[in-house]
Amino acid sequence: MPEQGPMTEAMYYILLALLKPGHGYGMMQRIRELSGGRLVMGPGTLYGVLNRMNKDGWIAFTGEEGRRKNYAITDAGRDALLAEYKRLKRLVADGTVLEEEQG
């Protein structure tokens, strides 16, 4: 497994979306829901990230519906997502000093 640096926003949300297995377009809709409509992921971005994470073993191909391919998160992907979540949480916790400063 590659050494994990900070994830891009696209990677983070795709892994989040794939906690429920699905195909590309379904993932895009789910990402929009998860982000409260804030993040509209382009199909090019989605496909590029899926490809890379599939190669890295974070997600796995689970079957096909016509031309659509279904993917699910792997254990390695889940670990990476969890690690990133913890890292982000730490960042937010560290940032509370900002609120204290602003009163």
């Binding site: 891009t8 696209a10 195909h23 590309g24 377009y25 895009m28 509209v40 992921m41 382009g42 199909p43 090019g44 971005t45 989605l46 496909y47 590029g48 990230v49 016509g66 031309r67 659509r68 391919k69």
Partner: protein, 384 residues
């Protein structure tokens, strides 16, 4: 169904192509197919449509094709797959649809251009390799750079259209390659810096269009002029009496029968361009019981603004005996003359006339060449 074809921007001008197809659809011409230089459109009701190009990675297993799955995702998002050419794949969606842009992050789109940049580089290297191989071959055949330059200059005198055609075609290729390289490199760098692709660039692409297509069409024009010149070349058997500023073997005492030599017959061709009138002759004569004599002549009458002395060098470079040097010879009635001593070749100039003669009589004496030049001087006296 009504169709039309129209020249499109280069494969390497992404935003220009997107704008071009959008503009065409707004005028009621919908993209059907992209060819090498032109695209095919069908007549439709004008509509405002977004076109977007996606570049395939050119790596196995899909090669220049986009994976079916990728197309399916794009189509699910509201994009219609239209057509492809090389690595470029074209999609469209109505202007007011909510089909999302392919890439929210330009840096990621930059990654997709690597295959296209590599393909351009490989194309350039192949072209350069072929050009180098061709140049090496021509240099070997012609005997060196000096001889090659001289050969091009001789072509310039008798078929300038052909030389201009090659030069313009080469310039068109170099211009296209240079502009494409600059353009795709610039797009890549901007995307890398996080600047989104400009889907409606203004004015760019016109310079390339005008330069590359202008040069190419101009080259075809000169090729057509050369073809026209070829059609008007006067081919014919060698006349008994010269009908131009050249000599026949009977002028130097060969009165025997005209004969064939290695499948060639005696003939005289004549052509004319804005630079010169040109006679190209070959004559074979056999006297009974004697060795056959052969004479080849390239005779030029240059345009009044040209000085034959500037062109003597390139005519001399066309010699058979490359190890021998030309030496000057005074011949009455000629402005200047040179012979290859003990050889077979002579060059002469008078006024606007210039000749290169190869004379083979089996004896190869300088005095024989002198006789040939004197006969030529006699013939040229009628042309002064």
């Amino acid at each position: 169904m009504k169709y039309r074809w129209k020249l499109h921007p280069s494969d390497y001008a992404l935003g220009e192509n997107e704008k071009f197809y959008g503009d065409m659809e707004a005028k009621g011409w919908r993209l059907v197919k992209r060819g090498e230089y032109r695209s095919k459109f069908e007549r439709v009701e004008p509509s405002r449509t977004r076109y977007r190009v996606e570049v395939a990675g050119a790596s196995l297993p899909d090669g220049p094709a986009l994976p079916e799955e990728q197309i399916a995702v794009y189509e699910d998002c509201g994009w219609e797959y239209v057509t492809s050419r090389g690595l470029s794949h074209y999609f469209r969606a109505p202007e007011d649809s909510d089909a999302p842009e392919f890439y929210a992050d330009p840096r990621q789109q930059a990654e997709t251009l690597k295959g296209l940049r590599r393909r351009l580089l490989v194309g350039t290297l192949i072209s350069l390799g072929l050009f180098a191989a061709l140049l090496a071959m021509i240099l070997t055949i012609s005997g060196g750079a000096v001889e090659l330059t001289a050969g091009v200059r001789r072509y310039w005198l008798v078929a300038p259209g052909l030389v201009v055609f090659y030069c313009l075609l080469l310039a068109s290729g170099i211009a296209a390659d240079t502009i494409d390289r600059w353009q795709i490199g610039r797009t890549y760098r901007r995307l890398k810096q996080g600047v989104p692709l400009d889907h409606a660039p203004k004015g760019r692409g016109r310079v390339r269009f005008a330069l590359v297509h202008g040069l190419r069409w101009a080259s075809y024009l000169f090729l057509a002029l050369t073809a026209l010149q070829l059609v008007t070349v006067q081919h014919g058997p060698m006349p008994t009496q010269p009908d131009g500023p050249y000599i026949v073997l009977s002028d130097v005492g060969w009165t025997g029968e005209r004969t064939d030599f290695m499948g060639n017959t005696s003939r005289r061709d004549c052509t004319r361009t804005f630079l010169s009138e040109y006679w190209d002759t070959r004559e074979y004569v056999e006297n009974p019981g004697h060795v056959a004599a052969t004479i080849y002549q390239d005779v030029y009458r240059l345009a009044p603004w040209m000085d034959p002395m500037d062109w003597v060098d390139c005519v001399m470079a066309d010699r058979i005996q490359r190890s021998h040097e030309y030496i000057p010879m005074d011949i009455e009635g000629l402005d200047a003359a040179w012979v290859v001593e003990g050889g077979t070749e002579a060059v002469a100039v008078k006024g606007q006339l210039m000749a290169h003669i190869t004379y083979l009589d089996g004896e190869y004496k300088t005095s024989a060449l002198q006789g040939v030049l004197e006969a030529l001087a006699g013939r040229w006296s009628a042309y002064s």
